[in-house]
């Protein structure tokens, strides 16, 4: 009999025993081939609550699986395996292992928000993708994505000084992602800037790079922002059952809340 749903059989679910004798009959090798069951035997209600508790995931429970998000998705057009509708379903029913199979593509969402504009139930699927990527990182399933790393360097500067200084961000980002500082496009850009930029502006830029000025009276804001970040991070980690906060603020070097505050108060 032909197998109609061949597409559902996965390589890793095919089991063969090299050494198997049943009732005196040798069924080793392909004689003992079987396919692991795909039966879903329970729902894990926690998974939806966890994603819903992370920023962006709040409205996941509204989804009625119409597929509009997937149909409109920029990334889906390039990779049919990128399927927000499907992931939302897996999360809602708690099919965690199934979700983890796609952990290396979920973060590829480009935040174009086409899905958000088309979703009839205002689930904000883009937010759900963000929350899911965040969840994957927090749970240690995936390393931090390049965009997360960029965000970290960026917010680190803003939090510290109330200002950003581009060259610092680029250097920090390259360091975190292990990229060399000298890259063709970058040196070309720097060279052209050097040639065309008015002297006053160049002087200003150089000064900022060296002295890294702070916004006036920033200390108060810095403390408030850091408090908030710690509070949110602690909340998220508690929700996910992770006890020890790893990086309470984007300043990855601090490993607990107090040291951040101490440093901030310096």
């Amino acid at each position: 009999m032909p197998i109609h749903e061949k597409s559902l059989i996965r390589e890793e679910n095919i089991r063969t025993r090299d050494d198997l004798v049943i009732d005196g009959v040798d069924v080793s090798g392909h004689w003992s081939t079987f396919i692991e069951s795909r039966v879903v035997t329970d729902y894990n209600e926690d998974l939806e609550d966890q994603i819903a508790g992370l920023p962006g995931g709040e409205n996941i429970h509204r989804c009625w699986q119409c597929g509009s998000c997937t149909n409109s998705c920029t990334v889906n057009a390039l990779n049919a395996d990128f399927n927000p509708r499907y992931w939302i379903y897996l999360i809602r029913t708690g099919m965690e292992s199934e979700l983890l199979r796609d952990k290396d593509i979920i973060w590829q969402c480009v935040s174009c928000n086409k899905c958000t504009y088309v979703c009839p139930r205002e689930v904000a699927p883009e937010g759900v993708m963000k929350a899911t990527a965040h969840w994957l990182e927090l749970m240690g399933h995936t390393p931090k994505s390049p965009s997360t790393l960029f965000d970290e360097v960026f917010s680190e500067q803003v939090i510290k000084r109330g200002k950003i200084e581009e060259s610092g961000i680029i250097r920090g980002f390259f360091k975190k992602t292990g990229q060399p500082l000298m890259q063709n496009w970058l040196t070309t850009m720097a060279f052209r800037l050097f040639k065309k930029l008015p002297f006053g502006m160049m002087f200003h830029m150089a000064k900022s790079t060296i002295f890294r000025p702070k916004t006036k009276g920033w200390r108060k804001s810095q403390l408030a922002i850091e408090d908030y970040i710690i509070e949110q991070d602690t909340k998220h980690r508690k929700l996910l059952g992770l006890d020890k906060p790893t990086s309470p603020t984007p300043q990855a070097s601090n490993d607990n809340a107090t040291s951040t505050l101490v440093e901030a108060a310096e």
Partner: protein, 350 residues
């Protein structure tokens, strides 16, 4: 306008027809088979009604007392119509209690019969105590005892509501949609979540038919405010592992078989044609729809007309119907009855 109108069936439709006639001074005789008026919502002890949110015993109970107190309505409980003869304006009905009623017209508001879940044995009703029907859960709520597993009285942690039980199923000869059970189930799911916030409620559906405003007031609300979960699957069977009920089926959205444990399984039972319809059809000489409901002759002209002139029909006797639509149809049928008697007296006066 001397002869009364004969109304058969004292549910929401019959009560509405009697009240409508009485308000214009037309006498009516209301014949009800059982001991008490009120129809399904009272006989089966429904809890809070869709869409008013009122308790059935208050809302429909109010309709009952309004009719019982009305001098224009002659209520005959514990009675059915044995024979019916005559012509429009001049009918004669013989009741099972031996009395005879002369009537100018008749309105059939004989309603529906609840689907008996025993006829779908694969879904475990009658085999496992904790497989119940929507009417049973309505009674748990309306009686104040609360939602509990019948087997041992424990509060369920996980409830599955199976939609379309006894509807939309050619295997058992039922090709209709019972129209109200999606909404009733969404409402019930919210009531369960309200009473037992730790209990997860799953609704297994083929389609969700919460028509009109019920979409936002029940379907969306149950999902958005009460976190009721909807799974697209028609369940294959309900079994037990000795401890929990096991619901088996295919989750169609992920093309995967499911065998999920539940504490309680609720059948969203449908609305069958009244089991008496063959008799009613023979006694009153009215045609039935091929599915066994009383056939309507006219959708846009004479409201509630049956195949027999002077005999009208309203409510869930025609098809699965909501209470408010049954009431609206009953008012329309009352108007048709009066019009038919007036035209007969006009003929007689010529």
């Amino acid at each position: 306008m001397t002869k009364p109108v004969l109304i058969v069936g004292g549910g929401p439709a019959g009560l509405a027809a009697a009240h409508a006639l009485a308000t214009v001074g037309q006498k009516a005789v209301l014949v009800e088979k059982t001991e008490i008026l009120g129809g399904a919502p009272i006989h089966s002890g429904y809890a809070k009604l869709v869409p008013s949110g009122q308790w059935a015993k208050d809302a429909i109970g109010g309709m009952v007392s309004r009719v019982e107190k009305n001098e224009h309505v002659d209520v005959r409980t514990n009675a059915i119509v044995k024979s019916f003869s005559g012509d429009p304006g001049n009918f004669s009905a013989e009741l099972s209690d031996g009395t005879t009623v002369d009537a100018g017209a008749a309105i059939l508001t004989t309603g529906f019969t609840h689907f008996d879940s025993v006829n779908k044995p694969e879904w475990g009703f009658g085999t496992f105590e904790d497989v119940v029907t929507t009417t049973q859960v309505e009674q748990m709520i309306s009686s104040g005892q609360g939602v509990k597993c019948p087997s041992d009285g424990r509060k369920p942690k996980r409830v599955a509501i199976l939609l379309c039980v006894g509807s939309r199923d050619r295997q058992i000869g039922r090709e209709w949609c019972s129209k109200i059970c999606c909404t009733v189930s969404a409402n019930m799911a919210m009531e369960i979540r309200e009473e037992l916030p730790d209990c997860h409620v799953y609704i297994y559906y083929m389609d969700i038919r919460t028509f009109g405003l019920y979409e936002t007031d029940y379907y969306w609300k149950s999902q958005e405010e009460f976190k009721v979960k909807y799974i697209k699957a028609r369940i294959a069977e309900v079994t037990s592992d000795g401890d929990k009920l096991i619901v088996k089926g295919e989750d169609t959205l992920v093309k995967r078989p499911i065998t999920i444990p539940f504490d309680m399984v609720v059948h969203a039972i449908g609305m069958d044609p009244n089991v008496d319809n063959m008799t009613i059809s023979a006694v009153f000489g009215v045609d039935l729809h091929k599915q066994g409901f009383i056939a309507r002759q006219d959708s846009y002209g004479v409201m509630g007309a049956t195949s027999r002139p002077g005999v009208f029909v309203a409510g869930s006797a025609i098809a699965p119907e909501t209470i408010d639509d049954s009431i609206a149809q009953a008012n329309a049928a009352a108007m048709s009855a009066i019009a038919s008697m007036n035209s007969q007296s006009a003929v007689a006066a010529e």
